[in-house]
Symmetry: C2
Subunit: 343 residues, 2 copies
């Protein structure tokens, strides 16, 4: 911490002098800026981040990138916050099923709701994509966008993680928050590109990650423009509009941002195409994958690297092979991170 | 011009002093900033813009808006640039039909292509939405996103407007460029929200309007992730994905930006819901519609206000009635604008 403070102090003096000198400002800005990455151990991952930022911000470098093209994209679940034992938004959906069941007595005899209401974990583990779509349609649609945001906000304020006994929004990875800040300090625009619901993540993205709603790209359902008491509302319809996962992440980046990222961070097979798409154009590029290999402080799952297999945030051997083949950097939570959480 | 220069000079001195004073900076920033609106005549439209900006940037005002929530959305065709006698992108599509006809001899006997190839203006005037979809599918799909951008760029570099004999990207309204700049100088994020093609507009939005690709919301077709020679490409498919017009403009704003605008600018019935959606939430709001009532310097069409009727950029009486009823400000090109173009 004292190092960080010292660096920050120097930086402030630096800026003050630069502003007074006027003409020098441009050159001064060219080098990578604090804050550094205090929660990262020295090692190949930290070095890769520092080297990349140095390269794209150094005007004398062949790989210099103009500030307006400094785009970095981050998967959320398992990359920025905890996704085990279950994606946070899936927990939200299951909680909503319990809450709404009073108005739906038929759910007691109707799958997939029956399994949810019976807390039948083994049945839920085998839910198909269509089961989840049914649950999302029943729990995420039928209200206005404003009403949905309020529902999500209230749930996030009261729900706790079963192992860490803290609000889900506390369970963000401190080292990744530092990467977000470090990139933004170097004039990057940081985006979330998540398979999760865009409207759900936008509720807390600014507060938790410093990422404004307009920088959240995610999955969405259809909305319909209607008038209620003379005022326009957007009603959420029980129909999928866009799935921002796998190839959808590259498609979503092109659709919502319209520029190729310089850097992309993920942790599972759903992030493969986002990293490929990032690397696919020329210039300085940084592709990173978080490997959950720390069962003591967080979780351990792969099945890459012989870690336990999982259906939530799968990191298969094929992804590890691609990472190695293409020069993507794998972040070991155990080795690369001094601490996992900010608390 | 000399006034503008004087104002700018004062502004620079102002900023320099403010930076040296440090602590004063915050207060100083609170008031509306230059540049002003030199191509606007004094009148209710110019006053409305100035009053709105003053209100949202004055920290002592009840209607003060935090910089991160200062969002302004602009329709493009007929609001930022000329749309008569035909939308620029429609001209592009028709030109592409002529270019591609050599590879499609069957088009000579097949509508809607036959009418295009015969330059049958009266038949084209009656093209249905489905005719246009067929033309867009044939001319805007079947290539990668990168290839499409290059095609659009090259066309824009060589095509000229039939009346003004200049590149289409010259035909932007100088007074509106000044509004964009004025808002950005006051920390607004300016977005284009167009019924036109998102990918098409992104080709020139930064250069022409100072609006980066990520701030362009528009209509789009499906894209598909594929590999070509080991590299990922996004192939444009001949299928509509999203129509950003009418209710689609409100839906698009929520989808792509996730925040309600404080200000919205349009000129036709396709902008109705964007203005309603903007006004629908509390706070300081500015809704404006450009009325094309200047046949000498540009065009005259409505049919509102007894102007000639048109199928391109229709401003119906019902929209004028809604504007009057809801306090939207109508900009008269003839009365409010000192000059139309920058050339």
């Amino acid at each position: 911490m004292s190092t960080l403070r010292r660096v920050r102090g120097r930086f402030c003096t630096f800026v003050a002098i630069a502003l007074l000198c006027g003409g020098l400002l441009h050159t001064v800005r060219a080098s990578a800026q604090a804050p550094s990455l205090p929660s990262w151990n020295d090692g190949p991952a930290k070095q890769a981040i520092n080297a990349f930022v140095k390269e794209v911000t150094d005007e004398s470098s062949l790989k210099y990138v103009d500030p307006e093209d400094r785009i970095a994209t981050f998967d959320q679940d398992g990359t920025l916050w905890v996704e085990h034992p279950l994606y946070t938004q899936a927990v939200f959906a299951l909680d909503r099923v319990h809450e709404l069941a009073l108005q739906h007595p038929e759910w007691n005899h109707q799958e997939p709701f029956k399994a949810v209401l019976a807390n039948d974990a083994s049945a839920m583990a085998w839910f198909s994509e269509s089961d989840w779509e049914t649950i999302v349609a029943a729990t995420h649609a039928g209200m206005s966008t404003d009403a949905f945001r309020e529902i999500a906000k209230q749930w996030l304020a009261r729900a706790n993680h079963p192992r860490f006994h803290r609000p889900y929004t506390d369970l963000v990875y401190q080292p990744m928050l530092e990467v977000l800040e470090f990139l933004r300090a170097n004039k990057f625009k940081t985006y979330i590109v998540t398979g999760g619901g865009q409207e759900f993540v936008r509720v807390y993205s600014e507060r938790v990650y410093g990422i404004p709603p307009e920088h959240v790209v995610g999955s969405s359902i259809l909305t319909k423009y209607e008038y209620q008491e003379g005022k326009p509302v957007l009603m959420r319809e029980p129909k999928v509009f866009f799935i921002d996962d796998f190839t959808g992440k590259a498609i979503g980046i092109n659709l919502f941002i319209g520029k190729r990222p310089c850097a992309a961070f993920g942790n599972s097979r759903g992030d493969q195409q986002m990293l490929e798409w990032t690397q696919g154009a020329g210039g300085a590029k940084l592709m990173m994958l978080v490997l959950h290999d720390d069962p003591e402080r967080e979780y351990a799952y792969g099945p890459a690297d012989g870690l336990p297999d999982t259906k939530v945030g799968t990191f298969p051997d094929s992804l590890m092979a691609e990472a190695n083949g293409r020069g993507w950097v794998v972040i070991s939570m155990k080795k690369d991170w001094k601490r996992i959480f900010g608390f």
